[in-house]
């Protein structure tokens, strides 16, 4: 136990640590997505899940194929797309707010039936 802790603190950061972080981020995102009622919070949760995926890309690239760069570029790519997606989503949310004065998902059922 002491050895593990020592090597954990002194050596390079192990792969499992990164994966554990991304796992926590991802499920935090899922939890947020399922439980939050505000559209903004749901959007933030989605971002959290995307970032967890980005971390996985980068980490696997770094540890498995250090000479290649595809994983890094893919992460950059995802960040750019996430930014666009957020912009669109925020625009929609603002419009919903203007119309309904409210961004609660459960209240958005005007178009149903």
């Amino acid at each position: 136990m002491g050895d593990l802790l020592t090597s954990f603190l002194s050596g390079p950061v192990p792969l499992e640590a990164y994966l554990g972080l991304s796992l926590i981020m991802f499920f935090a995102g899922i939890y947020g997505f399922l439980s939050r009622k505000s559209l903004l919070m749901i959007l933030i949760s989605i971002e959290l899940m995307l970032n967890a995926a980005d971390i996985n890309f980068v980490v696997f690239n770094r540890y498995l194929y250090p000479s290649h760069l595809e994983g890094f570029y893919f992460a950059l790519f995802t960040i750019a797309i996430a930014a666009c997606e957020t912009a669109v989503a925020i625009a929609i949310i603002i419009n919903i707010y203007r119309n309904l004065s409210n961004v609660d998902v459960e209240n958005i059922n005007e178009m149903k039936e």
């Binding site: 899922i30 997505f33 399922l34 439980s35 749901i42 998902v105 059922n109 149903k112």
Partner: protein, 633 residues
């Protein structure tokens, strides 16, 4: 003679164009188009007749020409339906009759129907009718004939119901359609039975006289009669329906609800003789293989003829008188076919029947158009509202008189020649048949002159406005048809149409001719005595024979019998239980399916909440389950 296809195509085109354009063009334009097209095909038909009768005679016998014959539906090698054009003496004669009468009616309608609502629709339907009727007569096979047969029925239905706001017209059109459809069921079964045993629809093969064609029917019997007899009798039932033979005649008097020119065209000259044409078309089969059926046709025709003539004597609606007279005259044609043999003198009946068809079409169309002219002037169908019209309508008067003389069989008008041939054929068959038909001819002369005197002579009825002669468009067809009626009798008909398509010289049987003329003159004299001046004799006779008179004016209660059978027996015992079964079993089953699926949908509806988080939750659970399955199994 490929161009004959135009005779069919042009009226169809005219129907489509007039039907699509409807009221977008001025009424006169539609009428003119319809009439001009009819004029063109009339000219074409005359040219066809001239070419056929002058060029297609081989060794004294007219050949059958089939300029067009395409395979239309091919089910198997054996079962295929062709469409084509068959030209032989009777079909060419019918082309001439149909186009002539149709053309005259088209011209006449320009005057008669001018201010009616739906003038374009009327012309479109007239074109449709002409197309169907022409298709019927030139059919190369029995199935093609059946198709056009039904088309003729439809156009008749449409034209009888032309005044569709009038309940009686609607009822009449439905009656005509249902009665003829009912008869056509027999026709269809007959066609199927006949073609099942002979393996062909083709008229050429059926009437070729080759016994091999009917080899399949030998020894096949059903309920004591050969299947061929059944087939031919069923086919005749189809013909009887269209030609208004007893007891399927009930639709024709009611069909007079249609516009008068339509009655002239369809219910006097062309469609109602389709049954006669059908029997004539299959005549070689009837005469060679099923003479019993042919004799049956003769008796049906004779009875119908007598029956209708008696009724015609007491009707007061002038169009109904003419309708019953038409039934009676078609009976004459049927009798003539029924008593005929094949070839030479034996075949006089066949020739006489076709001759009478030709002359009757002309003078009966003339009578109807004349009646239309009278109705146009006095705005009533009832005899009581007429009388003394000869001073106001000289052209109608004279042409009507000519037609009456023709139908009464007075020489030298056309009816005399054809009726005389029929009578001598009947005497040759049996003296009783001949005597019966002579008696009917006498009745014919009587009721026609009763009609004539009631309209043009007798006591003058007070009119709201003075009756006037009809416009030129209406007078022209009257004069033309009257001219034809005067001279058509001199056509050497035996040179053109005979049972074996060979030449036959008509010779008048002087005894028969003189007897029938004398009897006809006596009848006319009687009618003159009774109806020319107002007299009490008809009333006295009516009270003396009160039973007969009232039975005849109620058309011997045949309609009531039909109503009783349909409404009381068929509706109550068959239709109502069927309707109950339909509502409570078939509909209920279907409604059950619908109700069940609705119930299920309501139950599972809540799964589709529209809440994205709920979906995501289900999705997540599913993913987890699949992951666990993949990991541990």
């Amino acid at each position: 003679m490929q161009y004959t296809i135009l005779i069919l195509v042009l009226p169809l085109l005219s129907f489509i164009v007039l039907g699509l354009v409807d009221s977008k063009w001025k009424p006169r334009v539609a009428g003119t188009i319809g009439t001009v097209v009819l004029g063109i095909i009339t000219a074409l038909s005359y040219y066809t007749a001239w070419e056929y009768f002058s060029l297609h005679r081989i060794a004294g016998v007219y050949e059958k020409v089939i300029p067009v014959n395409v395979e239309w539906l091919r089910f198997t090698d054996l079962l295929h339906i062709n469409l084509g054009i068959l030209l032989d003496p009777i079909s060419v004669m019918m082309l001439v009759v149909i186009t002539t009468v149709s053309f005259m009616v088209n011209i006449y309608s320009l005057g008669y129907m001018l201010n009616e609502k739906g003038f374009e629709r009327y012309y479109a339907f007239l074109s449709l009718f002409t197309f169907s009727m022409l298709g019927l007569v030139i059919a190369t096979n029995i199935f093609q004939m059946y198709i056009f047969w039904e088309l003729v029925g439809v156009s008749s239905y449409l034209l009888i119901g032309f005044y569709y706001t009038k309940p009686s017209a609607i009822a009449a059109s439905k009656k005509a359609f249902i009665v003829t459809r009912f008869a056509d069921l027999g026709f269809l079964i007959g066609i199927l039975v006949l073609s099942f045993y002979t393996k062909t629809f083709d008229f050429g093969t059926l009437t070729s006289g080759n016994p091999a064609v009917f080899a399949g029917t030998v020894g096949q019997t059903f309920m004591g009669y050969s299947v061929l007899s059944w087939a031919m009798a069923l086919i005749f039932i189809g013909g009887a329906g269209k030609s208004a033979m007893f007891p399927l005649h009930i639709w024709l008097p009611d069909a007079m609800e249609g516009p008068t020119p339509v009655s002239a065209l369809i219910h006097a000259a062309t469609m109602v003789v389709a049954g006669v044409f059908l029997v004539a078309r299959l005549f070689p089969v009837y005469v060679t293989y099923t003479p019993d059926v042919l004799h049956g046709i003769a008796y049906v025709g004779a009875f119908t003829s007598l029956f209708a003539a008696v009724i015609a004597c007491v009707q007061t609606d002038i169009k109904r008188v003419l309708a019953f007279s038409t039934i009676s005259q078609i009976g004459f044609m049927m009798v003539a076919l029924g008593v005929s043999g094949s070839g030479g003198t034996e075949g006089t009946g066949y020739m006489a029947s076709m001759f009478h068809l030709f002359t009757h079409a002309m003078f009966k169309a003339l009578l109807f158009l004349g009646a239309g002219s009278v109705i146009h002037a006095v705005h009533s169908n009832e005899m009581n509202h007429m009388g003394g019209l000869r001073k106001y309508m000289p052209i109608t008067n004279w042409t009507f008189l000519i037609a009456c003389l023709a139908i009464a069989g007075i020489p030298p008008f056309s009816g005399f020649f054809s009726k005389d041939e029929i009578l001598s054929a009947c005497y040759e068959y049996s003296p009783y048949m001949g005597a019966t038909m002579t008696f009917i001819a006498a009745l014919t002369a009587f009721y026609m002159f009763r009609l004539y005197y009631s309209i043009f002579w007798g006591k003058e009825h007070k009119h709201e406005h003075t009756p006037h002669e009809s416009p030129f468009a209406m007078a022209l067809p009257l004069v033309f048809l009257a001219t034809v009626t005067v001279f058509a009798g001199w056509i050497p008909f035996g040179h053109f149409v005979t049972s074996d398509r060979a030449n036959y010289d008509i010779h008048l049987d002087l005894t028969v001719a003189s007897v029938s003329v004398i009897i006809a003159l006596c009848s006319i004299g009687l009618a003159t005595f009774m109806y020319r001046k107002e007299s009490q004799v008809p009333k006295k006779l009516a009270t003396t024979f009160a039973g007969l008179h009232s039975a005849a004016s109620h058309r011997f209660y045949i309609d009531e019998v039909y109503l009783f059978v349909t409404k009381k027996i068929i509706f109550n015992n068959i239709s109502r239980p069927l309707a109950w079964f339909d509502r409570h079993v078939i509909d209920a089953t279907m409604n059950g399916f619908a109700a069940t699926s609705q119930w299920v949908s309501l139950k599972i509806k809540s799964f589709q909440s529209g809440q994205i988080q709920q979906y995501a939750y289900v999705f997540l659970l599913g993913t987890l389950v699949i992951t666990l399955l993949v990991l541990f199994i």
